[in-house]
Symmetry: C3
Subunit: 131 residues, 3 copies
């Protein structure tokens, strides 16, 4: 089963919490024990797992990423001005595996799943593959 | 089968070689050909695969990570002072897949699996999911 | 089925597009819906998914990586002078999962799969595991 969800990203660079979207797909599938894949089939966005308790964490992540992967980097050859977003996409990765155990997604207490937008705002696809 | 191992990390930032823990779980399972997942369900730790022959490699990795993801970064908003660790966790990733072939973990000659501690010392969970 | 392809990398640091190699392995397998793993079992190379339309994107990625993970970094202890390559390998990762749906690899319009060489030129192994 390949589920395709649309996710609107509200800013140029932002993290959108998609944990509940993925949990809901897992519960609907009725699967007990499995490995699923979640993919953002784009090259200027990514997925990551990080803290979703304090919203300041993802703000710090974005600001720190910009400190070594700045939007403007003299000498970039790619004409669209978004090479920073391509780099961040490769650094965080676009397709991540998750463990399903006893019918639920296995995440730590502080872990949430984020779709990371680095070249928005846009509407992005989020694929959830459950075999 | 979801195995939960406890791993003590001895320093604030350090890499702990968990290759043998994972290999042992694979051998006990009796599986011949499979894809397994190894996860560190935390947001200030990570997993990575890198050289385990020369112990200086991981020392260089930690020092180089600190050069662009420093512990102290003026302007961080997250109050716990560990935003650097959250960033490193997202950069290296917390859940990685591995190939099992002919009953054994498939790794290159120089590859070992490390639990990466970025906010220790602590006791961390290492999950190994074998279907 | 574990396929081992040899990939020659032509320069010290370069990205080699292996999308067609992986697609071809998937089609030959006859699998309809699956999760496959692609691995580069090395510690100074990596895999990533990024844009393969404009060849300038990967040039920018390499130059930007060198800006915060430079080849020469005073104080490196590992004697082989390739600690930058070990770091880049951990940042991008060496083993990535992919979704196969309706008999084909699921990639976005702009996504290609690259073997990333950070310490070449060499001949590298590319493993494709299809269960």
């Amino acid at each position: 089963m390949l589920i395709n969800e649309s996710v609107k990203t509200p800013a140029h660079q932002c993290f959108v919490d998609v944990t509940k979207l993925v949990q809901s797909a897992v519960r609907k599938s009725g699967l007990k024990n499995a490995h699923i894949l979640v993919s953002v089939p784009h090259t200027t966005a990514a997925l990551t797992i990080n803290e979703n308790a304090d919203p300041d964490v993802v703000k710090d992540l974005l600001r720190r990423l910009d400190s070594f992967a700045p939007v403007n980097f003299p000498g970039d050859k790619h004409g669209e001005g978004n090479s920073h977003a391509h780099l961040k996409s490769s650094l965080f990765g676009t397709c991540h595996p998750f463990i399903v155990h006893d019918g639920d997604l296995v995440l730590g207490n502080w872990q949430g799943i984020y779709l990371c937008e680095f070249d928005g705002p846009r509407t992005r696809n989020l694929l959830i593959s459950i075999l």
